[in-house]
């Protein structure tokens, strides 16, 4: 009970700010009679949101966008990790592969997206590939940095035990890279949602991006805002899932904060 009270006290100020913000917004729209096709009032957004879910199509479209974002993110991250590991374990590869990766990165994905839709069609595949492409780079770069940023004494210790490069990877480089990897994943998950929407903008008949285009064409700005809300909830949800995985995987990175007397994880 007291835990709940403490939680409420901690949330009180942010909640108050939120209420003031929404209330102020509503007051300005009503007070200055702003046209609803320019900026909708929060109440109109809520109505649009409820209607969207009641009609039953928001959930399905949100599912499609989330699926594309998550699968593309997983694919891109897996590729990023794999390339980083190969390049660090076989340094000769780095000079061959890396220029292509950088070249690919300098091309804006928005510019390639139409091409990918031409190649892979209007379905989910093209969006998953766009998402994978945007997720790849932050994961790759961070993972490479983490695999390389190992302490020389730890390397010497393993070398003194005649460790193979795979043992050095497993016992030192990989765990050492995890905090870096999660930094990359946190960036990539945000990029992933953007990538999915961009893919849907270019050509699709499903997903939140598709609905946003439709609402825009119909000048239904309240629905557009309602879809922004759906998107941010999706983004926050994906981000917090990632955060909780990170807390589990990087428990040793936080033990300092836990302080003395903390019971170690089993």
């Amino acid at each position: 009970m007291s835990a709940l009270l403490r939680w409420m006290r901690r949330q009180a100020v942010p909640l108050l700010v939120f209420i003031l913000f929404i209330g102020g917004w509503e007051a300005i729209i009503r007070g200055f009679a702003v046209e609803s096709f320019l900026v909708p009032a929060p109440s109109a957004v809520i109505v649009a949101l409820l209607r969207g879910f009641a009609q039953g199509n928001y959930l399905g479209h949100a599912g499609v966008t989330a699926f594309q974002a998550v699968s593309g993110f997983l694919l891109g991250s897996a590729l990023g990790i794999a390339i980083a590991v190969l390049v660090v374990v076989f340094p000769a590869l780095e000079r061959i592969v890396y220029p292509y990766i950088v070249a690919l990165q300098t091309v804006p994905k928005v510019a390639i997206a139409p091409l990918i839709v031409v190649w892979f069609g209007f379905g989910m595949e093209s969006k998953i590939i766009v998402v994978a492409l945007v997720s790849l780079f932050p994961v790759l770069v961070n993972m490479m940095a983490g695999l390389k940023a190992v302490d020389q004494d730890r390397l010497d210790l393993l070398a003194s035990l005649s460790a193979s490069r795979w043992q050095i990877l497993r016992h030192l480089r990989f765990p050492n890279a995890l905090p870096f990897l999660f930094a990359g994943l946190n960036t990539a998950i945000v990029f992933a949602v953007i990538g999915a929407i961009v893919g849907e903008f270019v050509g699709s008949n499903r997903g939140i991006g598709f609905l946003i285009l439709q609402a825009n064409f119909a000048l239904d700005i309240a629905a557009t805002f309602a879809l922004f809300v759906v998107l941010s909830v999706m983004g926050v949800a994906l981000h917090s899932v990632l955060q909780s995985i990170q807390r589990r995987a990087l428990f040793w990175n936080r033990t300092v904060e836990a302080g003395p007397g903390a019971t170690p994880p089993a």
């Binding site: 004494d153 210790l157 393993l158 043992q167 040793w252």
Partner: protein, 271 residues
């Protein structure tokens, strides 16, 4: 000149054969104008079970000597024999303790101690008990399941000593292992190290820049010159074991410390 204060510690077959034999070793880093001569003409025989301390000003090549003896680097000239076999690369018959604990933060203390066993592909299950005994020896048995970040600096260094002992290598090399600890913890660790050395019967090469620490711990103190490191003198310390901190107050001890300090030119180390 094998020291023979306690005959029991030197097995008959070891007579004459040193545990570690360093023969006219020289080390030059780099080449051409930028070459750095770190060590020159080092010759030293260390008997099995002996505790030898190496003191010298910083930059005189002490850590270089560790890298050569452990096979992490090859000497530019000369030979090193460990257990009678020439050192040509890393070997599992020598344990290392570095200046910093060099623990792996994602492993528990016990798993850190068992790391050499995993890397050497020895049966981990069989070494578990030994690892626990070693943790008991260094006073960390209650912290086996803890992570390094939960331990103080002294405790972390004790864990790293347990790790260096786990594969039961006959030779232990320590590179300024207590340099980062405060004076009181350091004295405590010196006492414990003496006890551990007696219990485990290892040959120890102990690198330090503290003269008092060297004299307190060692059977022989090797005093080195500034770069390029050469051996200035090897001083035998006949004080009986186990030594206590009070032994540091006897005139003999003070004489030895004074002698080493005069060799080092009265600088470069604290008492």
């Amino acid at each position: 000149m094998p020291r023979q204060s306690s005959g029991a510690r030197v097995a008959p077959e070891d007579c004459g054969a040193a545990a570690l034999s360093i023969r006219d070793v020289g080390m030059v880093y780099g080449a051409g104008a930028g070459a750095v001569e770190a060590l020159s003409g080092i010759t030293l025989d260390i008997a099995a079970g002996e505790f030898v301390a190496v003191v010298g000003p910083s930059g005189c090549g002490k850590s270089t000597l560790l890298k050569l003896v452990t096979g992490l680097r090859r000497p530019s000239r000369g030979n090193i024999l460990l257990q009678g076999r020439r050192v040509e690369g890393p070997r599992s018959d020598v344990g290392i303790v570095f200046q910093s604990p060099v623990l792996f933060p994602w492993r528990t203390v016990l798993d850190n101690v068992l790391l050499p066993i995993e890397v050497l592909k020895l049966p981990k299950a069989r070494y578990r008990d030994r690892a626990m005994e070693l943790l008991e020896l260094v006073g960390l048995e209650r912290f086996a399941a803890h992570y390094p970040a939960e331990l103080s600096g002294g405790m972390q260094q004790r864990a790293s000593i347990a790790r260096a002992l786990v594969q039961d290598a006959p030779v232990l090399i320590m590179d300024e292992p207590f340099g980062a600890l405060d004076a009181m913890t350091r004295e405590q660790m010196n006492l414990e190290l003496q006890r551990i050395w007696q219990a485990q019967r290892k040959t120890v090469v102990f690198i330090t820049h503290s003269i008092a620490e060297a004299v307190f711990l060692a059977d022989r103190v090797v005093v080195m010159s500034p770069r390029p490191g050469r051996i200035l003198e090897v001083i035998v310390n006949p004080m009986p074991r186990l030594r206590s901190l009070d032994d540091m107050l006897v005139p003999d001890f003070a004489d030895q410390v004074r002698h080493v300090r005069s060799l080092l030119g009265g600088k470069g180390a604290e008492l």
